[in-house]
Structures are given as structure tokens and as C-alpha cells.
Symmetry: D2
Subunit: 353 residues, 4 copies
């Protein structure tokens, strides 16, 4: 397919179409309503369906129901809407159901504002719902990467039978970039060949999809099954990217999503000033690239680690858990919809030097 200039929110919708998705449930909320606007005409073109539910609570339960049939399902929302889905996400995790949830984060807490933020990091990576579960979390930094990670998200959801969350912000949703889509594919998880989907109990035993296990040993077994899954995910699905990393760095910046691009600008400008700074960008937030980051930080030229977030500091905990005290971990953040500028990043770097 030829390159195409597209808004991030629309590209996210088209990526789902490429991933063979036919079932999209959502409730409108700024700054991601364009996904629904796009899919409400685009999905029918490919035989798909968009249901605007009564509320985000309903969306969560529709995801559960449709996912049970073995079909690819997804939703998009923004911070408060994602909070309303926490019970359902926990249920889907407990029932081993694949689903993709996109959170175009807005400033919070509460109603907050509609401008970009990264303050739902804890909710996404620790599981805002109850119980021993996690969701894979992916954080694109460009429209093209949003497309690629969306398609990956559906593949990972199917492979591990788990909810996968893709988080971005209004910048990525609104910015227009040139983007390339893969050849369109049919829905890869053919429910007819599934050994778990509720696809009609013809010529086979009935199946049950549930998260209720009143026998504690059965429930622990289910939790351990989940735990085993997360262990495998931590081994195989860690993704990160380096930028301007070299022996000349004294400071290593950690940033993700659109924030990492602003850091890149700052890094480029600092390089011209003769200050060499590297960037470690986690692409998967869960699993967090713990070992990979530790290895980079352990390099003797690195004196300080600087975490930069559009929040009051959340990923910084994962950074500390990776660094484990071998180097000082500093933090700089703006929040509530205010995006740190390259100048602020540069100033913070100079201050640390």
C-alpha cells in the first residue's frame, strides 16, 4: 500500500481494519472521538460493526461478550472512560480473553482536561482493576508506530489470550503523518479452529468462559496460569528503542510515547551545543524493558538517569525498579495537559550536569 497522510486517530482505526477487526464498541470522549467517527463508516465497508454503547461500563462488558466468541474486538476511549472499564478488564484477564483497548490519555484526575498527558501509566501497567493480573501495554511515538503496534496488539492479544492496551495522547491522535498500512488481512484467529471460543457447541462438548472459581485451588491455578503467561510475556515481548546512545553520554533520558519525540529534539539541539545525551525509549510499558535499561544505565559513562514524563512521576518507579540504585534517578515532568518543551528538557539536562 502506498503511503498516506493521516491523522493518528484515523490511522488507529484503519490499523484495526487491517488487523481484520470487525467488532468495535465505544462511547465518545474527547480527544479520541475521531476513531469512532472514522470507524462508523469504515467498518461497515469491510462487513464490520461499531456499536456505540450506553456507557463505558457497557462497552467493557460488550468487549467481554464478543471476545468470548473468538472474534477480534477492541475499543478506544480516554482516561475517565478507561476507569469505568476496570472491572471488565479484570474479568477479561481472569477469563483469558483477548481484546485491545486504546487509551488516548487526557489530563486528570477526574474530568480533568482534554489536553495530552501520560498520567494513566500506573492504571495501565499495574492493572487498575482488582486481582492478580496485568495487561500488555504498548506506547507508540508516531502515527506509523501507532499503526504497527495496533496490529501487533491484536496479535499479542490472540497469542496470549489477554487484554492489550495501547496508550497515546491527544498529540498522537491529532497529528497528521505519512503512514503505510500492511496488505489487508483476514481475521487471523479463525474462531472455527479455536479450542476455547464460544462458537456454537456443534459436534463438541460445551465450553465455559468464566472468571469465577469458588474452589480456592482452582482460582490459584488460574492466577498461576496468568502468572506463567506474564512471565513468558516478560521474556519475549519486551520492546524498546535507543536514540543517540553512545559512550559520550553522561545522562540517559528515559521517555516514552510522544514525550520521547520532544526529548529527541532537545537531544539534537544539545548535541549541537556539544552536550551528548542518550534516549532510552520503552515501547512496551508492560513488560517494562527492565534488563535492557539496567544494562544501558550500568555503562560506566552514565552518571545520571533522567526520567521525563507528562505526569507527576509514574514510569519513574519502573525506572527505579530497573536501575535498582546503581545510579541516581532524576525526574522531570509537567502534567495536566502541559507538555514539557525541548527548552525545558534542555534546561533540566544542563542543571543535572
Amino acid at each position: 500500500m502506498a503511503k498516506k497522510l493521516m491523522k493518528g486517530n484515523e490511522a488507529i482505526g484503519e490499523a484495526a481494519v487491517c488487523a481484520g477487526v470487525k467488532h468495535y464498541f465505544a462511547y465518545p470522549i474527547t480527544p479520541q472521538s475521531e476513531v469512532a467517527e472514522y470507524l462508523c463508516w469504515r467498518l461497515p465497508e469491510v462487513g464490520g460493526v461499531f456499536v456505540q454503547a450506553e456507557s463505558e461500563v457497557a462497552v467493557g462488558n460488550m468487549l467481554f461478550g464478543a471476545a468470548s466468541t473468538g472474534k477480534r474486538v477492541f475499543t478506544t476511549s480516554s482516561s475517565p472512560g478507561i476507569s469505568l472499564m476496570q472491572e471488565a478488564i479484570s474479568y477479561m484477564a481472569g477469563a483469558h480473553l483477548p481484546a485491545v483497548l486504546v487509551n488516548i490519555i487526557r489530563g486528570g484526575p477526574g474530568l480533568g482536561g482534554i489536553l495530552p498527558a501520560q498520567s494513566d501509566y500506573f492504571q495501565a501497567t499495574r492493572g487498575g482493576g482488582h486481582g492478580d493480573y496485568r495487561t500488555i501495554v504498548l506506547a507508540p511515538a508516531s502515527v506509523q508506530e501507532a499503526v504497527d503496534l495496533m496490529i501487533l496488539a491484536f496479535d499479542l492479544a490472540d497469542k496470549y489470550r489477554t487484554p492489550v492496551m495501547l496508550i497515546g495522547d491527544g498529540m498522537i491522535g491529532q497529528m497528521m503523518e505519512s503512514v503505510e498500512f500492511p496488505e489487508e488481512r483476514r481475521e487471523p484467529n479463525n474462531p472455527d479452529e479455536s479450542d476455547w471460543a464460544l462458537n456454537g457447541a456443534k459436534n463438541r462438548e460445551p465450553r465455559i468462559i468464566k472468571s469465577l472459581f469458588l474452589d480456592p485451588q482452582e482460582l490459584e491455578d488460574n492466577c498461576l496460569k496468568l502468572e506463567g503467561k506474564y512471565k513468558e510475556i516478560k521474556e519475549k515481548e519486551v520492546r524498546h528503542e535507543l536514540y543517540n546512545v553512545s559512550d559520550k553520554n553522561r545522562i540517559l533520558i528515559i521517555g516514552y510515547g510522544t514525550m520521547s519525540r520532544i526529548c529527541q529534539t532537545a537531544i539534537d539541539e544539545l548535541e549541537e551545543e556539544g552536550i551528548s545525551v542518550g534516549l532510552f525509549r520503552p515501547v512496551s510499558l508492560f513488560p517494562f524493558p527492565e534488563k535492557e535499561l539496567h544494562k544501558e544505565v550500568a555503562k560506566k559513562n552514565i552518571k545520571t538517569v533522567l526520567t521525563i514524563e507528562m505526569s507527576t512521576g509514574q514510569m519513574v518507579e519502573d525506572v527505579k525498579l530497573s536501575v535498582l540504585g546503581i545510579k541516581p534517578v532524576e525526574f522531570f515532568g509537567r502534567t495536566g495537559g502541559i507538555v514539557p518543551s525541548p527548552d525545558e528538557v534542555k534546561e533540566k539536562v544542563r542543571e543535572l550536569l
Copy 2:
């Protein structure tokens, strides 16, 4: 007041009465329905009201509404019910509203089971809702402590104008212990003297309680106000307890809530075997006693830190963030409603030695 033999769930209800609470909103869910059963007759005796709402989503919004008037409000629920309140908790935090939420945790994720667990630690301490907010989290280990921390919870909620969560499990809810209540007190936060409560705009300017700030600078200011609050809380409201801690310890166990009592039994039995193990029990989970734990772990006799939880490992992250790599951090957990036995704890300790 004389000592009284009482079930944990009922004692939690009576503690709220002692704290002057008149407004309780809840929806029944095992294993905490006795709180509602108790308060549905007890609250009217003191002029209070219990509203059984349509759902936990409604409960969350009733808490918001009632708290806005300056009255003490609280709810009790269990894991899935608390997940449904995540949006409202974020809203209350963002609007600086005091409220107390009790989570008698059951095994999860999803519907899970009804037996004791500690697998909602992340949800409680990281804020399962969206945005830059935290809730104070307290974890009692006995019925008496549940009573004391309930009363403290209301005081902290008022002092910092923030939601406070008390977490326990079915053991603490069901066990009967002798318990002493303080002299009954009137509601301490007199709404008439409040400078923020919506208590009727007579002879004063109208007030607004909200979490919506469309101007990003206003929203960041609100987040920084919250951040300042959490900083003060981290300085002043850290609580923990030590048990059998001495120079003879080689291993320091970290456990909270009812789990810590099982650890104590194991520690007592190990002591008789000549193995000396100390226990560090966080009482406040947010703020986590980071410095206090670091100090204990730094003692040279300590070789290993052993975190024990009724989960697949959640508090262990806070332990690692406190220990910061100076000593190895081990983990042992059972989950899904299965409670580690003293024998299992002892075996794990011996294994580490």
C-alpha cells in the same frame, strides 16, 4: 467503653459510627455484606442513613455528592465493586473530597472467589483510576486495629481532603476479637465552619467543587496541589510496626494485614527452633514506609529480605523500591483465596537460610 467481642465487619461499621459518620452508601458483595447488615439498623439509631445504591458505580457518585456537602461519608465493598468505583475515586481525588472506602479483598481477577486475598494492592496504592492521584491506604492486622485505623481514616480524609482506603480481607471481616471503642464523638468536620463545603450559599459567595479544569495551567496547578498534599502525607503519615526485630535476625520478613499475623506465628515457632527472624509490617501502604524499611534492611545483620503476600507479588515492588538493591529481595506468595500457612512461611525461611 468496655471491651466487646465483635466480628471484624461489624466492628468496622461501629468504628464508622464512632467517627461520627452518618452517611454510608454501599452495594452488597461477599465477604463484607455484614457491614451493611450492621449499619442498616445501627446508623438509624444515631440519626444516620444507609443507602443501598443501584450499583457500585452509583455508590461512587453518591460518595462524591455527599462528600461535597462536607459530611463524613464512606462505603465498603470487595474487589470487583471497588473496580467499578475507580472513576469516582479519581473524581473525588481531583476535587479534593474526603471519603473513606473499605475494600475487603477477595481472590481475583474477575469474579474470582470469596476467600481472602491481598491482590488489590496495586489498585489501592497506585490509584486504579486515571490521572495523577493517590489515596492513603491503611491495612489493619487485627479487629482492634481495624477500628483504630477506621477512625484515623476519617481524620486523615478530612485533614488532607482526600479519599482514604482501608484494605482487609475476609479473615479480618469474619474473625471475632475483643475490641474497644473510643467514646462516641460527634461529626468533627462541622460543615458549617467549612470553607469549601457546599453547605448552602447563605451570606457568602457560591462555591464550586469540580475536577474539570479546561485551562491546562489550572489543571497542572491542581495536580501540583495534589502532589504537595501527597508529599506532606509521605512525610507525616507513614506508619509501620516491628516484631521480633533484633541483631540476631538474618532475614527480615515484610508482611501486612492478616498475613503479618501468620508470619508472627511462624516467627515465634522459628525462634523456638533457634532461628531468629524479624517482621516489618507496613501499616500505611501509601505512604509506604520506604525510609523506615530501608533503614532496617541496611542493618548489617540482615542478609535477605523476604516479602510475603496473599498475591502473586505486588507489595514486593514497594519493598524493592525501598531496598533499592542493597540486599536481595525474595518473594513468597499464595493467591486466589489460599492463605500461606505458618509452615509454608517457615519452610521458605529455612530454604533461604
Copy 3:
């Protein structure tokens, strides 16, 4: 009690207080929100409670739940809100639960407008919900009568264990009139003496309140029990009023509620012109004063019956069912919030003459 100048909506609230009501559930909607505004401070003064529910659907179910305990319960709403309660009203009727519902009717259908109308007559008198049930319907024409009928409504609800509806419109809700309240009374239906209320199964067999009867004979028995109740109500609870009725009348006007007062003005003015017209005002709409009206219409001086409503014609069916063809039944109505003026009434009368 001395006379007091009061708005209709507030007087309705105070009347409920006089009737000993302590439990009021509602959701705000124009043009009756003043009832909630009044009761939110007035009820607590007498130890009562107002719960603003999540929606009118929730209100309906809260009425059911609270009524089950034998306490007097009520709600106030306006047209769309009452539509949302139709399932719950049917459930309460089927379960023989007393409750009072006030509908301050606004123009409809749909969102309509907020001005006075009588277009919910069918819904009120035929049961907008499903199944063989009716509700007693009372229609006051003045603020004083609203007070008197409110208190009667609670007595009838208790006596017959049935939902009772009081219908009015924005005129009666907003107009200020001098009104007298009875001496305040305690809640007359003492749940402790009830033989059906769920008041705690101490020293007695458990009771069940339900509308589910899977055995068709049991369900028919329940319907016949209801039917027997309605028969008794039709015999004993018919209420109406005559105005200017005499042998000189050629035309008998039928009007209810505030519409009847406008008819009285027209009748007074016509009398001065030498045209004598009588007014028959049904006070109970169900039971409709069928025989009483038939008797009046049968008088030989009456040539024509003129039904006047603030709707496109609903009560006119009950008039026809009463008149049964012995005289012509004419109709005049305005709707959608437009109130027929005395001049329009007079013109219609002259036209018929």
C-alpha cells in the same frame, strides 16, 4: 395549624411530611424540582431521608425496596421520568406494595416542553406498565386540595396496598395559595404491627414479597386478588365535585385539575351572559366517577357533554364509557403546554349551543 401561603410544589412536600413520610426518592426534572429542593432540608428536620438516585429507573426500584419494609415511601417526577418508572410501578402493583407517585405533567411526548399539560392521563389511569394492574389516580385542582389528596393518597396506598398516583401540572406546582395543614401525625402504618412487611423475621416465619408466580394458577390468583381490590376501590373511592350544576344547564362540562378552574371562570362569565353551564370535575381519575357522571348526564335538561382537556383527548374516553351513547360527547383541547383560556372555553360552549 394556621394558614400559610405556599407554592404547590412545596406544599406537596410538606403534605408528605404531615403524612408521616420519612422516605423520599427522586431525580430532578422540571417542573417539579422544587419538591426535592424543599424536602432535602425539610425531611431531615423530621428524621427523614431524601435519596437522589442515579436515574428514575433506580428511583422506581428504591421505592419497591423501601416499601417492602412497611414504610411510607414516595417520589415526585414529571412525564419522561414517570415513563422510566413503569416497570417498577407494575412490580409494586403485582407485589401489593403501597407507594405514592406524584406526576407534575409537562407537555409531551418525548422531551416535549416544560409547560403544563394533562397528556399523561392514559399512562396514569390505564397503567403504562405491563400486566393486569391499575393505580389509584387523584387530580387536585388547588394547592389546598393537593395537600389533602396527598395525605389521602398515603392512606389509600396503605389501605389497599397499592401504588397511588397524584397528577398535577406546572400551574399547580408553581402557583402560591393559602394552605392549611393538618396536625402533624406519626407514620400511621406501624411496620411492627404489619402482617406482611419485611421488618425483620424475629419470632415469626419469614415473609416473601414478590411479583413472580411461575405457577399460572398462582399468578391468576394474584391477578384476581388485584382485581378484587380494584373492584372495592371502584365502589368506595370514587370522588368528584359539581359546580354550577342546575336544571338550567344545557351543557355539562367535564374537566379536572387546574383545567377545571379555568372552566369555572368561563362558567361564571357565561352565567353573567345568561348561559348556564355546569361542571363535573372528577377528583379520582381511577376510579373514574362513571355512575355519578352518567347520572348527571342522564338528566333531561342536558343536551351535550363537553370534555375539556389539556391534551388531544384522553379522559374523553372515560367520559364516553360513562355516557355510553345517551348524549353526544364533544371534546375541546389544547396541548403541548398551551392552556385553553376561559375565552376559548366560552367560545366552544357558544358554538355547541
Copy 4:
């Protein structure tokens, strides 16, 4: 198309497919869940969609939303579910939206039972929602007629832009009969040619679909527009059927739906006994065949009119409004899921003779 043996519920589903329907919203409830079971696989075959909503309230609002786009929409439910849709039905009527609602009536009120009944007659014919509106109501007596009336229902809904209700009971839903479907048709109301549908405001002025009219004159105009529509419907859309009607009848039975078939059996058996009884079967309940019935009743051989219903008496009011006192109107009914037998009908006839 060749004849096919089919259950009523499934035939109703297939009839909707024949009518070109692609949008079906529902929530399961006995005794009509087979419609949803059938359409959940049948609709996708023709490119259609079935959404199982969160509740019947949500179903009603989804109907409103989808109907606004000019597409054919419908739902099926049973008594309590239909009660929950009363607000939405009123909104659709007020906004002039076409929709078809099927009520497979179960015994009520409340939860009632799951066996056949006709006790939602008032709700259907008088509009259980608020305001001056009506819905066309059709009552088939056989599976074939259910199919024919379903297709007619969609045509009438489109023609008059109004909700149309088709009512039946569990007998018609469960019985298997030979049935013939028309050639499959495309959706007749092409939204692209519509002058009101919200089909995308390209190259034209935006359109608004609403039921809110704050200006009372506008609201009255809307009510009069509805009134005009109902007048036209009463003139053109009256449907009824006669059975065994002749000069020999002394008694005329009025029965509709499946009840009329039991009456036919009784009539056949009475005929053999030498007792000639006619049957007047209203097919449209609104508009009720008032004049047609009056004409039949006026025939001098008719001494008594006997209304038979599976309720405690609801249609009997429409019968009385048609007969207007010229002959006595008797009633016989069973309710709560009990269906009158031919013997009971015969006995009642003999008793009247």
C-alpha cells in the same frame, strides 16, 4: 418461496429479514428469546447486525439512534422489557421515527410468569409512555399472519414515521406452523432519498431529529401533526376479520390474537350443537375497528356482545367505546398465563343464552 414449517418466534425473525431489516437490538427475556437466537446468526448472513444491549432501556435508545439514520430497526421483548422502553417509545413517537417493536406478552404485572397473556393491551394501545401519542398495534392470530403483519408493520412504520407494535403471546411464539415468505426485498426506505434521515449532511442543510420543543406553540404543532397522523391511520389502517358471522348469530364474540383461534374452535363446536355464534377479530388494535364493530353489533339479530381476553378485561373498553350502549357488552377472561379453553368459552356462551 416454498412453504416452510417454522416456530412463530423464528418466523417473526425471518419476516424482519424479508422486510429488509438490518438492525435489531434486544435483550433476552422469556418467552421470545428464540427471536434473538435466530437473528444472531441469520442477520449476519444478510449483512445485518444484532446488538444485545445492556438493558431494555438501552435497547429503546439504540432504536431511537438507529432509526434516526433512516434505517429499518426493530426489537422484540416481553412485558417487563417493554415497560422499560416506554420513555424511548414516547421519544420516538414525538420525533416521528419509524420502528417496530414486538411484545410477546407474558403474564403480569411485575415479574409475573412466562405463560401466554394479553394483559399488556392498555400499554400497547394507549401508549404506556407519556404525552399525546399512539402506536399502531397489530395482533396476529397465526404464524403466517405474524409474518404478514411484521412486513406490514415495517411498511406502516415507514409510511407514517411512527413506532408500530406487534403483540403476540408465547403460544404464537412457540407454535410451529407452515408459513410462506415473500420474495426477499431490499430495504425499501432508501435513506439516501429520505428528506429527514440523518444520513450525512453532504450538499444539503443539516437536519435535526428531536422531541424537545420549548416553545409551546411548536410543541402543540408537533402534537397536532401527530394527531393528524393518527386520524389518517384511523381512516386507512383499520383491519379486522369475521368468522361464522351470519343472521343466525345471537351472540357476537370479540377476540384477538391466539385467543380468537380458541374462540373459533368453540364456535365450530357450538355450531354443531345448533348454536350459531359469530366472531369479530380485530387485527389492528390501534386503530381499533370501531365503526366496523359497531355496524356488526347494530345488526338486529345480535342480542349480546361477548368480549373474551386473556386478561382481566382491557380490550373490553374499546369494545364498549365501539358499541356505545346499543347492546349489552359481556366479558369473560382468564389471566396470569391461564388460557381460556374452548369449553369455557362454550359454557360462557350458553350461560348468556
